[in-house]
Symmetry: C2
Subunit: 245 residues, 2 copies
DNA sequence: CGACATCTTGACTACAGTCAATACTAGTGG
DNA sequence: CCACTAGTATTGACTGTAGTCAAGATGTCG
């Protein structure tokens, strides 16, 4: 597992996730402390960042790229537990090992902090803890929304829900414009979608074909989806309101 | 919805959840502030504490009893998202409405704080925020464990997992004794179990009957379960390690 | 005892899983 | 440039698990 340590010396002030990551509430002096501690790591698409149970000596923010959080049963069944996008946080303070598998699905850059110094900083710097609390609560809401999808929705509803969630994330939520067509690039293979939704990849494929056949979505290539009318897609999700991640 | 405001004036020092709840890290002076703010509320078994979308003017700790966190699709399908046991926290600071249905399944006593003063206190008192962060992270881990159960396990594995989790909670985790028989009282009806596991109540009933037929569990009445050999039950869960809630 | 909740069991159905063949796409090397 | 391969996606035929509908059993409380 080759790990590239790339020290760009990106200034926090210029950081693309400065205003959303765990550091977003920090004052200039606090940011300076973090700046001293931080180091970058990059992972290639497909690389595993950590296996469940691995020692994790750092915590980190995703700067670029997409990673997944997942868990595996001994017979190989896997369930994806979350998508990690830029500004999302990896690791848990005061816990030595990773509870989940973390995999880079695109090339990923992490802004890392060794765990112990970060924990000390967390105690000394309430702004970090406050932001981490907010982010953790958002994750919890997202996880609970997924529980409803996993436990109670049909295959078709699951696919529609996933697409809806991705639409809401890609298109910044500021403009809730009526029914202009929306194009999304799926960052996921059919198999990754199936791991996310608790389905098989064949079922995912069939449901996507069905939605296409009915004109609810259009495909441009395999990974690019056009939604001509979001309302029609929403009607397939089984619930009117889908929120975040 | 009759709400009883019972002002026992229980001293925090004597509180049964003093050392596990959101206040557990507080110093005496901090505790005194909380003591000034708090008020008790009780709900009868079966009562709804809040519906999803309701205005929630308070946050609270569960002192006595068991409540559930759930979500409902418009056609009536419901998914339980968590069990709230004594010391668990209800509500989310800085959010005005409840994101979920909260129902008392036994008589419940809550230690409540009006939201706004609690938010102010949270900023002034890092000890509270630290504890709330810990608790939220635990909830997140529990929710993610459930995602795996909901998404990837068979009906039989789901039932075995639920029983295992309840065993681990009832029996304090201190004694990991080998294979002494364990008795548990289910706080849940078959329907509640089905809502938890994303199954129908008929399937729950059938699987429990099957486990009984095979001698993996014994029933004393409908709600009391004896597990003669935990290892055999664990072997039915599909995963070797089940952690918490 | 009767009324109502809850639970169990059976017969049948349907949705999604499994296994397998085929198609599409992109990348590699002759 | 084309042939070959490997990874990804689609589709079909069949199976099996859990859902649905319904009857009856058990249990609890007035």
């Amino acid at each position: 597992m080759a790990i590239n340590i790339s020290k760009f010396d990106v200034q926090c002030a210029d950081c693309p996730i400065r205003h959303r990551a765990v550091c977003s509430k920090c004052e200039v002096d606090e940011l300076a402390s973090l700046e001293d501690m931080k180091f970058y790591r990059t992972f290639e698409a497909g690389q595993t960042i950590a296996w469940a149970g691995d020692n994790l000596t750092f915590v980190a923010s995703v700067v670029h790229g997409v990673a997944t959080l997942g868990q595996t049963l001994e017979d190989g069944r896997t369930q994806m537990l979350g998508l990690l996008l830029p500004s999302d946080f990896i690791g848990r303070p005061w816990r030595k090992t990773s509870a989940y598998d973390v995999c880079a699905i695109t090339d990923v850059t992490l802004c890392c902090f060794r765990r112990k110094p970060f924990e000390d900083m967390l105690i000394r710097t309430p702004h970090i803890g406050e932001r981490l609390l907010e982010m953790t609560m958002d994750e919890l809401d997202a996880a609970r929304e997924w529980m409803l999808i996993l436990g109670r929705k049909t295959a078709r509803e699951k696919i529609a829900s996933l697409l809806t969630i991705i639409v809401h994330r890609e298109q910044a939520p500021d403009v809730p414009r009526a029914n202009a067509p929306v194009t999304i690039d799926l960052p996921l293979t059919r198999e990754a979608m199936s791991d996310y939704l608790g389905l098989t990849l064949e079922t995912v494929s069939r449901q996507i074909s069905a939605l296409k056949r009915e004109g609810i979505i259009l495909l441009e290539g395999k990974r690019r989806v056009v939604v001509p009318d979001i309302a029609r897609l929403l009607a397939q999700t089984g619930s009117d309101a889908i929120s975040h991640l």
